[in-house]
Amino acid sequence: MAIEAWNDPNARPMVELRGLSKRFGDVTAVDGVDLKVFAGELFAILGASGSGKTTLLRMLAGFESPSAGQLLIDGVDMTRVPPYERPVNMMFQSYALFPHMSVAQNVAYGLKKEGVGKAEIADRVARILDQVKMGHLSGRKPAALSGGERQRVALARALVKRPKLLLLDEPLAALDRKLREHTQFELMNLQDELGITFMVVTHDQEEAMTLSSRIAVMNHGRFEQIGTPEAVYEYPGNRFVADFVGSINQLEATVNRVDADRVLLECASAGCEMEVVSDAAPAPGSDCWVAVRPEKILISKAPPETGRVAVKGVVHDLGYFGNLSIYRVELPTGHMMKVSAQNRQRSATKTLEWDDEVYLSWEVGSAVLLTD
């Protein structure tokens, strides 16, 4: 997207949720969420199972009726509109291809129900199947297709209706690793080409990070944080997000002094004083956490240059992953720190061994201060 619509106060959202809730008996699956998704976005809802993301998706599609709140699509209230009258289509996790219909019949189904003329159906089906590179298999039954091929058909079947919003339920979950990477980029290209708003539901943070323009991290039926992948990863809003998206070290600390955006802390986990950059301006004496991503930490035998936050420790464990090495370093307090280092030089891989005394250091601005 050329301009970031979510930063433009006058932009009209394609999808708008206003205090949307869903309760099943005494269980609140979705708890009063507000959200604006803009035209052409590839928006990901990221959450663990039981976070309410699937219920939210089913409400968007119209399979579940909200207990409270409002759901607008392109400015029209869709809260009580049945699924077959919504300008929304979905690609199911199981793909849900009709087993008794051929690929072409599967794709044509939605157009038939819409009452589109025969010639136009044939034309549109052929075009979309070509677009997902499935034209040569249009006569096959779903049972005779591979997983990746089924996914393309499912995608074509949803897209051929030209929905205003396409919902994707764990789109890459059923594919093997090689195919995932490939499909991921194809999805992004297709989305770019068609300009349809995509909403993806996933439990896989890697999938969410690479696919989407923005991510909403969901937990216990609420959004913990909504932002671009970079914002969510680099500036997690709370401990849950920090921990759920990627890997992170969290150090317990108490605020000593606040000096503009510089916060001086007494870090209990590391057993020393520490400086962090933050706009949060926490009250002196309050508890907080310092969060540092493993790749932001430099591991060295020699003392680091001044100006960096540094702690001492002992290598407890190391794992070699080819392109990078993961170290688990024990601080004098017993706290374990995870550090990852790129193996830029072949010789570099063997310079550190078990029980080596090392310095861990990071730039003041690389750590994040979390207050809850």
């Binding site: 049945p82 699924p83 077959y84 289509n89 979905m90 996790q93 087993p99 189904y109 779903p142």
Partner: protein, 269 residues
Amino acid sequence: MRQRATGLLTVAAFGYAFLYLPIVSVMVYSFNDSRLVTLWGGFSLRWYRALLENEAVLSAAVLSVQIALASATVATLMGTLVGLGLHRLGRFRGRTLLTGMITAPLVMPEIITGISLLFLFISLGEWIGWPTTRGATTISIAHITFSMAYVAVIVRARLAGMDESLEDAAMDLGGRPLQVFIDVTVPTIAPAMISGWLLAFTLSLDDVVIASFVSGPGATTLPMLIFSKVKLGVTPDINALATVIILLVSAGVIAAAWIGRRTPAGGSG
């Protein structure tokens, strides 16, 4: 190793012989030229010819097929609705009880089903004046009551194996609930309905106990006729008749099993 295999084969052969020798002997002796059932007098088709000329047998056969057709069709429709209902209602208190109750007629002794239905028809006759006489209609109703349980069980099993999101997908693509049912649900459960129908058909064709209870004057099904004839002594034409029925019934059962297996339920296979 080899010895063990031979031993197993012998046991298996013995078991199958036990199961099928009586049936095979009936079939073989149906081609017996002799008037005596137990004495082989050469190959002949005379008992089949005699069968075709026997008015009583032919009309009983026609009645049996009519009842089987009617009861299988109604039982399939009703059993399908029951299976759908049990599947759709989801989880609720008493679901296990209801599900168990639908399978009860499968294990209920036929004689009890027969007696209870006879009582029902007599009582109904007294209360609402229907049925005035017992015959083909009451037999059909009786057959529907027990064979629809079979259909319900088969359809429910098929639905349990169906990908739930198929119906969601059809609705998502613009299908209204009734269209979704016709476009997606029915094709998915069709194999179960067909095998259920075939099973109901053969069950009805087989039944002698229940039919004997709920039948009336003038309505004699083929199994009833055979049973009454055998009481007077086994004649070779019974062998011929039995052979025809065996072939019909096994064709039905094999077709039911084949259709059930050939088409896998569920989403993307």
